[in-house]
Symmetry: C2
Subunit: 248 residues, 2 copies
């Protein structure tokens, strides 16, 4: 099954570099996903192809008109045969994006992203055609495009067959519920900075224990909130208690 | 003063679309910022230009070697005349990125971003040359490149002279501490969906009150955590109490 991803943006060229390289390109080459970047200006029905207008009630800033976006989404969905698409608005007011949401979206057949670009959205877009409002974090961006790329990247890498085994393991902090342990590679002594001895000991049990303890230590120091939802073994709970006692 | 932004990535082409359009391009055209995307593979000192290697202690995944990154950062900083740069590692274990951090970074003269790409980082990079570790959110991406673009976008738009007044107002949810009120633009009746009457009343006091109440309602419903740190007037606190009573 191929996932279809449509993106509505008046800056379609912004997507070329990100969708055209590395994993996102490989996923499309393999047929796991098809990207379709749509300039919704083409759907504006006035002769100047206007996509925004002044806000009712006054004030600074422009607001995206409902017509071009309604008509673009209608066009993209009228061929829909089976399940309706998720229509996702990228905006600071949306739900905070998480790995869990990425896993949910990776189950879908059709995602449509709507990206404003420093404009606001007419509220009728939000009320009548949007299924999900997503914010990638508590910071202000010049548009929804980067947020859409972030969501696309995190979803597409989860699609079956997209990641090779050498890519799938690392950086999966949020899948295990703990932050990752430190990594080291050659040389063992780099300009006087040495690799911890346990890692070159050849003792697999000691290495596994070291990694788990370091993973827990890092999580405790940097993101203690993650420990509340982590699924710890009895051994891990003992280590955690020791770490907490040392910290206090 | 011009900000210098260096990015270390083995996928420099990923940045072209994002840095070459819209606000980020205008900021560079205006001389507010200069981007320099560096393929750190060019700094690898072996004949195969290797940037990663197997992890000590075994396991899946590759780890970025210290040498190419140490030497690239040395090269980029040896001409440094005044304040040392911020050397920023994009990684899931980093501090959670916020608008406050964006405002801090916008005060700097030189930012260097280090982007891994599904590999882990040798811990000696983290310990010896990094000043900041940043995570843009609790989700897994295929590399640090999109995170770096997100941070760059949020920082560059804050540089003096970059945003015009028509771009600066909207979407600034996190500057006021509250989520934005709904926006509407013409037509007042779009396919039977109408704009709230108050917005076409011409009564500025009523419009301001409506907007503030809607902003508080939305924040209360979607992100009550933001209200704890919001700086509310007495009038706003009264409205908030009323909203909470209605919700209960």
């Amino acid at each position: 099954m191929m996932m279809n991803i449509d993106v509505l943006s008046i800056f379609p060229e912004m997507f070329e570099g990100v969708l055209g390289h590395s994993i996102l390109k490989k996923a499309s080459d393999k047929g796991a996903v098809q990207y379709n970047i749509v300039n919704f200006r083409e759907f504006a029905n006035d002769k100047h192809q206007t996509v925004d207008d002044y806000p009712y009630g006054g004030g600074a800033g422009m607001v995206l008109k409902p017509q071009p976006i309604f008509d673009a989404v209608t066009y993209l969905t009228e061929q829909e045969k089976s399940t309706p698409p998720r229509v996702i608005l990228m905006c600071p007011q949306g739900e905070r994006y998480t790995q869990k949401k990425a896993e949910q979206l990776a189950q879908e057949e059709h995602l449509i992203f709507i990206c404003g670009h420093y404009e606001g959205y007419d509220e009728r877009i939000r009320e009548h055609i949007i299924t999900d409002e997503i914010s990638i974090g508590d910071y202000v961006l010049t548009g929804g495009e980067l947020g859409a790329m972030v969501v696309i990247d995190s979803v597409v890498r989860l699609l079956p067959g997209v990641l090779g085994s050498e890519q799938s393991h690392l950086q999966d902090s949020f899948s295990t519920g703990l932050l990752e342990h430190p990594h080291y590679t050659r040389p063992a002594d780099f300009r006087g900075m040495k690799v911890p001895e346990v890692l070159v000991s050849g003792n697999h049990k000691l290495i596994e224990d070291w990694r788990m303890k370091e993973s827990m230590r890092r999580t405790l120091n940097r993101r203690p909130d993650l420990l509340e939802n982590a699924n710890l073994t009895d051994q891990q709970k003992k280590w955690l208690d020791k770490l907490i006692n040392v910290n206090e």
